[in-house]
């Protein structure tokens, strides 16, 4: 059960906030639907007051997950669903679910029935030129990663979000993403539209059966 702290409340409606979220920069209230941006002291409301509409609940998103839900990964690691970001890309949509697993938080990507639990990795070496990222190409010896085979390069766009997230998403923000496979892992990199910064994640693919969601009908494959 989420723990609550009496002096932590939604600045909009006063509903209690899960204490475990006290260091988050953005909080989406499940009760009033408003989004609040916080300083490190969890005090200030959103700077431009426009976030409530952007962060409106996303309806009709068929998924095994919903915010506040809990479950286990591979029958061992308990998780809670904190928030989500919906991304559009040329071929469709994917969803990034923010999970809390123990004391850590991860992104669980859900895309066309496949799930990948991502953890962020620091980028310690200069980024290769964008021309190096072509589907079918191999990237070897960069940033202490295993050799990885690039399977997709395209543009993504944030189209919505919900729940509690570690950063304030910018609706409509576009970025280039590069997905690859290497060493049995999924490697994903998101590069800003102007190429000024990038984020690297390494993930573990999970089968449908690896994830048990509370009160879900179990199925096999």
């Amino acid at each position: 059960m989420p723990t609550q702290q009496p002096n932590m409340a939604c600045p909009s409606c006063g509903a209690p906030i899960d204490a475990a979220r006290r260091f988050d920069e953005v909080y989406h209230c499940e009760y009033c639907g408003n989004t609040a941006y916080f300083t490190q002291h969890l005090a200030a409301a959103g700077p431009d007051g426009a976030s409530a509409a952007q962060g409106a609940p996303i309806a009709g998103l068929y998924s095994r997950f919903k915010i506040g839900q809990h479950g286990t990964l591979r029958g061992k690691l308990e998780f809670n669903v904190l928030g989500m970001v919906q991304v559009e890309y040329p071929s469709g949509f994917w969803t990034e679910w923010r999970l809390r697993v123990g004391e850590q938080e991860y992104w669980l990507q859900e895309d066309e029935g496949i799930y990948v639990l991502f953890d962020s990795r620091p980028i310690e070496e200069p980024l290769p030129p964008i021309s190096a990222f072509q589907p079918g190409a191999n990237l070897e010896g960069w940033n202490r990663l295993p050799r990885w085979f690039i399977i997709e390069v395209a543009q993504g766009k944030v189209i919505g979000y919900q729940g509690q997230l570690p950063f304030p998403p910018n609706i409509g923000e576009t970025f280039t993403y590069v997905d690859g496979l290497g060493g049995g892992q999924v490697i994903s990199m998101e590069i800003d539209s102007d190429g000024s910064s990038a984020a690297l994640s390494v993930g573990e693919p999970l089968e449908y059966e690896d994830i048990q969601v509370a009160a879900e009908e179990t199925g096999g494959w």
């Binding site: 996303i58 309806a59 009709g60 998103l61 068929y62 998924s63 095994r64 919906q86 040329p90 071929s91 469709g92 949509f93 859900e110 895309d111 066309e112 029935g113 496949i114 990948v116 072509q134 589907p135 079918g136 085979f149 399977i151 997709e152 390069v153 395209a154 496979l181 049995g184 999924v186 693919p205 449908y208 879900e216 009908e217 179990t218 199925g219 096999g220 494959w221």
Partner: protein, 472 residues
């Protein structure tokens, strides 16, 4: 439980269209006006009435049908008809209420249920060979097809961007009932893993009681009339691939192939049969210092009759001396020489002519004039010994093999002649005097030819089966 429908306005005609995949729906086709909607745009317009008739599904599956597949409830929300140069196929998109998509690829021999996956060993589809390995478990999968399919019709909705005229490269492979499909373009490589299911099973899951339709006969592509409104024939396309050989079958094929190959090599090497068909042993007699050698064939020097059986191959003549012991001392050696002749009796007319000619020349008629030498084998045997740097050494040479052919099987005469080597001709205690010579005749395996033909049959059988599996 059916998926909950959300209504969206078609950007083409404004009609309310039911959407079942909710926010994940990227493309939907308006069933009224045929507009292919993607986001706020209409990317294509289809003549639904004509195209539905033209590209009707082969099976009884239809949009909206529901089934419990592999433990979950699914509903058909979309269908794509793709076309290759000579064939086409349908892919049904099924969606669960938890947002889990699967694809039912429909072919003549059944269905394949696919889902997207990340392979442990990503294969580059542009450079993949005939076999690919994608999973950490299981062996290689055999590539059975690759090409480029064009979307010619779509109905329903899809969680990805799709429109008529789009082409997708694909590579398909199989291992047992496991199927792999790689769909790829310059922007993306997508891996799908699936399981083959027969039509009857799929029909049962959908609760369809109608019998599975028989596949229509394939028609030659040049007979198709692309402008015709009549439905295209469903060809024998993407038929269920042959099951790969079991481990036992592979071992059996390998053993048969190797056995056949071995027999061919064996026969090609000209190895002889293990058992001789004629063998004679002669006691060596030295020439006691005389210049002439000694006829060993029999005491009177008469040749021995030998019948060579009919054959198209070669005979082996094996000459073997008995062990030759050294005579002791610091060093030395001896040798003896042998000549074996195969003789053919001359025709009487020829013999008379030769005898007459000899008489005319006033020459004595040789006792061997009645024979003609048709084959001659010479060999020598010896033993040498000595001491070299304090080490005693010895060498012997006591077996000789010779292959020969003769065109005419039948009666022959064998004549064996021997003599000491010149250096030892007059030695009284020549050890050769204790030796014996064995002359043995072997039929070559080529003579019976069974190894050759057995090898041809076994190797040919395996190659035939493998060719049939690969090329059909």
């Amino acid at each position: 439980m059916p998926l909950e429908a959300t209504q969206i306005d078609c950007k083409g005609c404004g009609a309310k269209v039911d959407i079942l995949a909710g926010l994940r729906s990227k493309t939907f086709v308006c069933e009224y006006c045929g507009s292919v909607n993607e986001g706020e745009k209409v990317t294509a317009v289809q003549d639904m009435q004509a195209l539905r008739a033209q590209y009707q599904p082969w099976s009884h599956l239809r949009l909206g049908m529901r089934a419990k597949l592999l433990g979950r409830d699914y509903q058909i929300i979309g269908r794509i008809r793709s076309k290759e140069q000579y064939w086409w196929w349908d892919e049904w998109l099924l969606y669960s209420d938890s947002g889990f998509p699967i694809w039912l690829q429909e072919g003549e021999g059944g269905f394949t249920i696919y889902r997207v996956f990340y392979p442990t060993y990503p294969v580059n589809p542009w450079t993949a060979g005939s076999f690919v390995k994608l999973d950490s478990v299981g062996g290689n999968a055999q590539v059975r097809e690759r090409g480029s399919g064009e979307i010619v019709f779509l109905e329903g909705e899809f969680t990805w961007s799709a429109k008529p005229g789009e082409r997708t490269n694909y590579l398909e492979a199989f291992r047992g009932k496991t199927r792999y499909s790689i769909e790829y373009s310059e922007q993306e490589i997508q891996y799908l893993r699936g399981e083959a299911r027969d039509s009857k099973w799929v029909y049962q899951q959908f609760g369809i009681s109608a019998p599975v339709p028989k596949p229509m006969e394939f028609e030659e592509p040049d007979e198709w009339d692309e402008d015709s409104d009549s439905p295209h024939p469903v060809p024998a396309v993407r038929s269920a691939p042959k099951e790969p050989l079991s481990v036992g079958s592979k071992i059996l094929f390998a053993v048969v192939f190797l056995l056949g190959l071995g027999l061919l090599i064996f026969s090609a090497l000209g190895s002889s049969q293990a058992k001789h068909f004629k063998s004679f042993t002669f006691k060596a007699r030295t020439a006691s210092g005389a210049d002439d050698g000694v006829m060993l064939t029999d005491a009177k020097g008469a040749p021995i009759a030998v019948t060579l059986p009919s054959t198209r191959g070669a005979y082996e003549l094996r000459l073997a001396s008995s062990p030759l012991d050294s005579a002791g001392g610091l060093g030395g050696g001896y040798c003896w020489w042998t000549q074996v002749d195969f003789l053919k009796e001359r025709p009487k007319a020829v013999l008379k002519k030769l005898e007459a000619a000899a008489k005319d020349e006033d020459e004595a008629v040789d006792e061997w004039i009645r024979y003609q030498v048709v084959h001659r084998v010479s060999a020598w045997f010896g033993a040498y010994w000595g001491i070299d740097e304090g080490e005693r050494w010895s060498e012997t040479n006591r077996v000789r093999q010779h292959f020969f052919r003769t065109k005419d099987p039948g009666p022959y005469f064998l004549r064996v002649y021997t003599d000491n080597c010149a250096d030892y001709a007059s030695k009284a205690k020549n050890p050769v005097s204790q030796a014996s010579l064995t002359v043995a005749l072997y039929r070559d395996v080529w003579m019976t030819r069974w190894t050759f033909w057995a090898g041809i049959v076994l190797v040919g059988l395996v190659l035939l089966i493998m060719s049939w599996r690969i090329f059909t």
